[in-house]
């Protein structure tokens, strides 16, 4: 019998540090598969965030750099400007990229920085124990919005990929989800495309992935998936939000 599914070469043997059922791990695996399929493990430098994915450096077989909370894209920019022929990607939580690091998200995209950013949107700050994130939905309860996110006090959630898609330097922007086999396959296609866009040197590529946080949502892993579908998907619309002509011709 032949192995038709197993650990991709892009991942080390180190078990993920995520909570049981957390879909962070699925997204990491997809990146590991893409690194292997595009044969770019030896040419890639990843940048990890601060957050639940802060240990990504241990999980991938490529070189990795970790810095301050929210700064992965600035660090990625420094790496790419030094080594323009290498592949550089950042893996960041929604708090990391859409909260403390928003200025880099906007400007990295506007500059058309030839890097790839993967954002994991679980509508909450996971690592620090479930506080409100810029992506927390209206009415959603977190430890810092115990009565539900009040739009008058806390304002509206940010749909970052939608914003990024408006910037000229961003050439590929996709919003995907890690909730079901069908969506996971779509997510992988988007991630792969994003890396191919970088290989072709076309500009900034960005994939936002809807993900669960069973621990801080207070739901079982299975119920978390349903909660994501019922509550996040209507707000954060899935699909390829921006595909420039050059990317289409890839």
């Amino acid at each position: 019998m032949e192995k038709v599914f197993g650990r991709p070469k892009g991942l080390t043997e180190v078990p993920f540090s995520f909570c049981p059922g957390c879909t962070h791990g699925i997204i990491m695996r997809l990146i590991g598969e893409v690194l292997e399929e595009l044969d770019i493990i030896e040419d890639t430098i990843g940048v990890s965030p601060v957050g639940c994915a802060g240990f990504s450096q241990d999980f991938f077989t490529c070189d990795f750099v970790g810095g301050p909370h929210g700064r992965a894209q600035a660090i990625g920019t420094g790496i790419k400007r030094a080594l323009p022929d290498k592949i550089v990607f950042t893996y960041q939580g929604d708090g990391d990229i859409a909260g403390i690091g928003t200025q880099h998200a906007i400007h990295t995209a506007a500059r058309g920085e030839r890097i790839t950013s993967i954002m994991v949107n679980n509508a909450i700050y996971g690592m620090t124990g479930g506080q409100m994130a810029p992506t927390t939905l209206a009415g959603m309860k977190t430890s810092t919005s115990p009565h539900g996110r009040d739009l008058v006090i806390n304002g509206h959630p940010i749909d970052l990929p939608k914003t990024i898609a408006t910037l000229d330097g961003a050439v590929y922007v996709a919003s995907v989800s890690a909730d079901s086999p069908k969506n996971i396959i779509q997510a992988k296609k988007a991630i792969k495309k994003a890396f191919q866009v970088q290989q072709a040197g076309l500009g900034f590529s960005f994939v936002s992935v809807l993900s669960t946080c069973p621990t801080n949502w207070g739901l079982s892993p299975q119920d978390s998936l349903q909660w994501l579908r019922d509550n996040m998907m209507p707000v954060y619309k899935l699909g390829e939000l921006k595909v420039t002509e050059e990317v289409k011709n890839l």
């Binding site: 032949e2 078990p15 079901s180 996971i184 069973p214 892993p221």
Partner: protein
Amino acid sequence: MAKVKILPEYCKSCRLCIEACPKGVLKIGDKANAKGYYTVIAADEEKCNGCTLCAIVCPDVAIEVYK
């Protein structure tokens, strides 16, 4: 002929694979791994058709599929 193999050292007993499997092959076993998780087993092994759906949804790359 297909075979699903669970890697107990990676399994965190989250059950997502059990829900994803259309054939009801998987269930939680009665043995705990070093971290204390009762890991998934292929209880109805011969029903597996190698669709890989369980492996696709596994967040810990704890499943290998052979065909």
